[in-house]
Symmetry: C2
Subunit: 241 residues, 2 copies
């Protein structure tokens, strides 16, 4: 091809990046199927269809690949924060947007998010610390959104923002365990149902709020509370696995 | 010891079972730390403090141990269903009891439940099928409870029982990722906060119910809906990891 045209040069520049992405996609698939610890560099090379030696042109270690997959999920996740923050909307509306955006990202990236949650424990050192810090910042954004909604009266003052934010994220993250495209409900519908649940679950009307009213809506039956207390006492006295 | 006394004979009968339980506890700890796939039978023998050969007196394979750990979590979990079902209480109160009981079991068995969720993928064949069937039955119990509460008017008719049950379980199961005993909130308090969230999130007052009222409480901002639609379109046209 003639060197005077820009197009081939751009194509050449893009080619390694495209190959890099193919390798990351293949690694995520293989980690997901076999588990990170059981996967060899050879498995990944086989899955991409290149020689193991050629793979080392793009990466330096297996942990490199894991880090890049996990870091990619985080980087994309933070875009959800930016999109929500840019909205001209109430805190409760932002909460709905955050929940819907997070659910949809996970639903569209099931393999990567599964690798994130299942194989994060294999990440070590500084890289692990960095991802944990990013995860904490993401969770803090949701916690602050709940606090803002408490200040404007749309979220019940009885809600604990820390427990609420972490359980909401758990609910959304869990979908890698069960959601498969092509089922009864689209990811968008599931996102909206989750957002209905979260906004209704945290909201109360300031005019009718009384401390503890969410608990008194359906109190824990006494017989059950007693059974929990006695099983807790047994458990504390016994060997813990 | 004299053979005429029953006590030593009973002790001898209990000893292997106690040792069996010690082995299961040790296996769960090692699987949790290293991951099932990276753990050898030697690692487990070292952790119990017995010879590898002696370990085979109690088990036949590593997968045996994984199955016994996972099956144990399920068997204990089903006790939650029995305890809830035995209650003389409304469906919404039973829902609170179910959520609190499930959360507390997980909080008191963090290592076992972590192994369940992280290493279930390594279980194969009939055993895998059996656990999946038990998991489905457990989830179906929660789904049916939500349906009963819809029939008596305490849960909003707009709720999808299937999506609700699976997301509620996800929220509760997630705690192996973050809860550690000795933090700001006890497991019991977290269980009650989760139950407040779940009952409020699913409930509505039949007298004021209008279809879609939970969604209109805080609608998705239009700019965000548009951005989601366009990113979904881009994603469908692109390579999926």
């Amino acid at each position: 091809m003639p060197k005077t045209s820009d197009a081939p040069r751009e194509r050449r520049a893009r080619a390694p990046r495209r190959r890099q992405q193919e390798i990351l996609d293949a690694a995520a698939r293989v980690f997901h199927e076999k588990g990170y610890e059981s996967t060899s560099i050879q498995d990944i090379a086989d899955s991409v269809g290149i020689l193991k030696g050629s793979l080392y042109y793009y990466i330096t270690s297996k942990e490199d690949l894991l880090y890049q997959i996990i870091e990619g999920v985080h980087r994309e996740g933070l875009k959800n924060v930016d999109a929500v923050e840019a909205l001209d909307a109430s805190p409760l509306e932002k909460l709905r947007a955050f929940v819907t955006g997070h659910l949809l990202y996970n639903a569209h990236n099931l393999v990567r998010t599964a690798v994130f949650f299942q194989d994060f424990r294999s990440l070590t050192g500084e890289r692990r610390k960095q991802i944990l810090a990013e995860r904490d910042a993401y969770e803090k954004y949701l916690r602050d959104l709940i606090r803002q909604a408490q200040r404007d009266g749309s979220v019940c003052p009885d809600v604990d923002p820390k427990v609420a934010s972490i359980t909401v994220l758990g609910m959304l993250n869990w979908i890698y365990n069960w959601y498969r495209p092509g089922g009864e409900r689209s990811a968008r519908e599931i996102g909206e149902l989750c957002a209905d649940f979260v906004t209704s679950g945290l909201h109360c009307d300031p005019k009718t709020h009384r401390p503890g009213h969410r608990r008194s809506l359906a109190p824990l039956p006494q017989a059950f509370a007693d059974a929990l207390a006695s099983s807790g006492a047994r458990r504390n006295g016994s060997r813990r696995g």
